[in-house]
Amino acid sequence: MNRFGVFVCHCGLNIAGTVDVKAVSREIGEIEDVSHSEDYIYMCSDPGQLLIRNAVREKGLDGVVVACCSPTMHEVTFRKAVESEGLNPYVCEIANIREQCSWVHQGDKERATAKAREIIRSVLEKLRGNEVLETLAMPLTKRALVIGGGIAGITASIDLADSGYEVILVERQPSIGGRLDQLSLTFPHLDDARCILGPKKAEIANNPNIRVMPYCEVEEVKGFIGNFDVRIRRKPTYVDWDKCTACGVCLEKCPVESLSDFERGLTTRKAIYTGALSENSGKPVIDPIHCRHLVDGTCTICQEVCPEGAIRYDQGEELLEERVGAIVVATGYDLFPMEKIGEYGYGRIPDVIDGLAFERMLSPSGPTGGEIRRPSDGRIPQEVVFIQCVASRDPERYMPYCSRVCCMYTAKQAKLLKQKIPNSQPYIFFMDVRTDSKGYEEFLQGAIEEEELIYLRGRVARVFREGDRVRVWGEDTLTNRKVELDADMVVLATAVVPSEGIKDIAARLRATVDKHGFLTEAHIKLYPVESPTKGIFLAGCGQGPKDITDTVAQASATASKIQSLFSQDALLQDPLVAFVDPEICSGCGICVQVCPYEAREMDEYRGISKVHEALCQGCGACIAACPNNACELRNSKAVQVFGMMETFAEGAEGSLADG
Amino acid sequence: MREIASGEKGEMYSYFPGCTSHSTAVEYGLSIKAVLKALGVSLVEIEDWNCCGAAAVHSMNKLLSLCLPARNIAMAQKTDLELVVPCAGCFNMLKRTERALKTDPEMRREVESTVGFTYQEDLKIRALIDMVVNGIGFGRIEEKVQRPLTGLKVACYYGCALVRHPKVTQLDDPENPQYLDTLMSSLGATAMEWSFKTDCCGADLALTHGDFVVKLVNRIVGMAQEAGAECLVCSCGLCQINLEMRQDVGALGLPVFYFTELMGIAFGLEGTKWWSKHMISPSTLLDSLSLR
């Protein structure tokens, strides 16, 4: 005879408000193999867990059902509790009477109570068929892959490398640095972006644990947490970087120019170019779209001038295979393209630029050497209009969300404008000014006070060219006035959007994205830096718009999560996986085809299918697909599942039907 | 110098009556004199004082608005007594001048040369209510109470000038002041809790914009009524006359006392003939509580 214990949680009034928990506990206690049944206000609390542990110990229980919330919430909690009393954790089961009962049947206490009772009875039926299982120990590759070489990827890489783990840092641009490399001074302390990034880049270069792979992209990812097999594509640079000394002659002599992405179109770059302009050590790549040699073979100037003979027009791409235990996705952001915003000139008014372009103007390493000049005629602007929430907070036409950084960078840019051009006047059109982090509000008010910024509450309706100036039609809703002014320049704080290609990379990683393309976290509060796919961690703006402070904090959090993963000798995994009855399996191979985790493989010698327990996630696809019922899931065997259904059917004939 | 109230030797204050004490606020002046005499405090009216200038002057001419009170400060400096000002409006103007003299050296030079005096920073300028509550103190006031104002429900009205701007007046909490309330309790009256203690009554616009000043006054008096008060008590000549003359809240209306009038009743002083000066007669109210 079993000695089962049942513990019914009130969850405050979440369950007890709808289910008669006392009656349920009493009735369940009358079942023959239930030797203990009780209820408590919060079973997951310390005293609640103590009730369970005491009962296990004192009554010698050999199985436990906790009737409470979803197993995704506290299954682990209760399994640890029974384990601490020497009971096998896999004979502790959860009966979900909250999400699947009390929450959906509010106002019908009688039937909700009956349903709760039947749910518990069916879980008891499952428990009767449970086996004692041992946790699986899987080998673990203690090496991490970081995708994206911005401040998020850099931070995660350094944190991991410093704790002794190997890191592969993949960056699709010719050099690391990301968006931070484009910025001038950063809010709220006006630190130079280069002073933040420079030392970090040096650390990356000098850390033997970090392998930087610039100009590379992740092509394919197989496997699972602990053992991912990653294929990385090295794009052809057309330059032999081992020979190249970054002397820069080729950049000088190349005759082809096109608009520079890095400089946000404020200036041009050559067809052979380096990533971040600030770095002397940047080795060049050839842009195959613009290079005359690669397009039609009409030019070989770079090859002719290169003193090292490093130019390789025939270089092909290279594929590399790596095994890693965890992956950080730090793919960063783009700005919403101005070209899509008609009322602000479709990006065709030269003196209307976006926030990143203005950063380049402010930057001493930028195309104007840090001078603010109008792109149209190079004149120094006096009246500059900043428009916030451009394509952000615009659910019908663009993005519904707040981009979080624009309020602060606009205030900073206006302040720097005033400092560089003292007789200038910044006007800032805003909907709200959000300064929700440490020191931000003080920065904003300080800037307003010292620099006499004028903030106007209202969304600018229209921006158009009039003569050599830019006419702005705005509004000041606080004084109920329509405001018209002629600006010398307009800066648009366009929305932060996920960087291009995020959906492809997410699909390769089996990670999920929201409808805007931002990577989704497993739980916004409980698991904010984890993807729902185990072993994938999220840092930076790929997960959602955020500032440098939050990005760095998040990146360190991913590193810390991976450190705790890697600190184990082996990867412990629930043994609730598929198994095969070799007597029944016909070796048809259907399971191999349906398995989404590549956990099924044919055993060629025995002619039957086998399970890689390390890869199996217990999803059940193979079990459903197996034509012979040769596949089963541990502790969810067919006999158990049918038993649960029969129990429900009995209940339905009885009390459930009465109501 | 004219001593208008005389008490024990040593307890003397210099006194700026203000123009209204001889006209529209004559009952304030009379009751101050009687009450302070009973408390043994001497007031010495400052020599040949002049009008503080009030809102009219500071609205039109900043320098003049500082020089007129400065001339009074110059006169008051001749004694080494603290200067007491009964009217909240005058008090505010004197304190504004004091602030300018203390914090703006350039303005100080200009005012000093225009008026022809040298400012002495140690001259202390106090509102009468401050002097009564913090100088004389509740202990001595309670000792003098012969006829407690039991059953009298008052709404204490501080108005603007006594408490605002706090950097100028440096007196009590500008949103919920307590001096008058505590004083009323010590006289045995019940000070009602209400929310319009410091709302402006618009007195400065009473003559030019009577229509909307009536609305401001009615709201104040109406709120006092709603809080259960049967009368208001104040410390400003302009507020008192505005509140009594512009209210339109019912048959009889709520009388508005100067706090010194109620002190006089509580002290059982004889010859409190100033009642007849009120625009809204308090006789019925006082009779109903046997306070007359």
Binding site: Q425, V433, Q445, I448, E452, I454, Y455, R457, D476, L478, T479, N480, R481, K482, V483, E484, L485 | S23, T24, V26, D48, W49, N50, C51, G53, A54, A55, A56, V57, H58, S59, M60, N61, K62, L63, L64, L68, R71, T114, G116, C160, R164, H165, P174, E175, D199, C200, G202, A203, D204, L205, L207, T208, H209, G210, F212, I241, M245, S276, M279
Partner: protein
């Protein structure tokens, strides 16, 4: 918002900055700090009667709209109750600002929308100049003459008179000469200002 929306075209940057600087210099307040929270306007007893709310006045100054500000009725309806200044989260004393605006409006000869208020203030100032203290009866008479409004408040005025609260004969302080000297000096100072304005024009 009971006031209709109007369009404003901002004046050139020099004009705007000059007006802002002059106002700030006069009142000593830093108007750049205003973040338009409207606490001043909502608490103001006379804002419902103003053409521009107090917060709007601050904004118009930032816009450099000198004429609109100095010709507004708002500057004359402010009663200097200081509710705004006491509550302002940025410590802007709008009472002092309004004083400065009234003075500028007079000095530069702008048309005052509230003639009655100006007439009363003038009558009040004259009364002090004559006797050193305010004499209600003559002051009110002068106000009536200046404003042309003879009938308003005649009955309450009579009641006050009957109560003996309005003395009939004006007095005169001993040092009346010093008062007149102060008037003269402060007036002269205004003249200087006017001259300076004249030269710069």
């Amino acid at each position: 918002m009971d006031k209709p929306m109007t369009t404003v075209e901002l004046p050139d940057i020099e004009g705007r900055q000059t007006f802002l600087a002059e106002v700030q210099e006069r009142c000593g307040e830093n108007l750049g700090l205003c973040y338009q929270c409207l606490k001043c306007t909502v608490g103001c007893p006379t804002a419902p009667y103003m053409d521009f709310n107090p917060n709007t006045i601050v904004r118009l100054i930032q816009f450099g709209l000198k004429r609109e500000v100095l010709e507004s009725n708002a500057i004359w309806l402010c009663v200097s109750c200081e509710t705004c200044g006491t509550r302002c989260p940025n410590e802007i004393d709008i009472g002092l600002l309004m004083d400065a605006l009234r003075e500028m409006s007079l000095e530069e000869g702008y048309r005052a929308k509230e003639k009655g208020v100006v007439a009363l203030h003038n009558a009040f100032m004259e009364s002090i100049r004559r006797g050193g203290r305010v004499h209600e009866a003559t002051m009110l008479m002068e106000y009536k003459l200046r404003s042309g409004d003879y009938w308003t408040d005649l009955i309450p005025g009579m009641k006050l008179f009957m109560k003996g609260k309005i003395p009939l004969l004006p007095g005169r302080i001993k040092g009346i000469d010093s008062i007149r000297e102060i008037y003269k000096k402060t007036q002269k100072q205004r003249k200087v200002l006017e001259d300076r304005e004249g030269k710069s024009k």
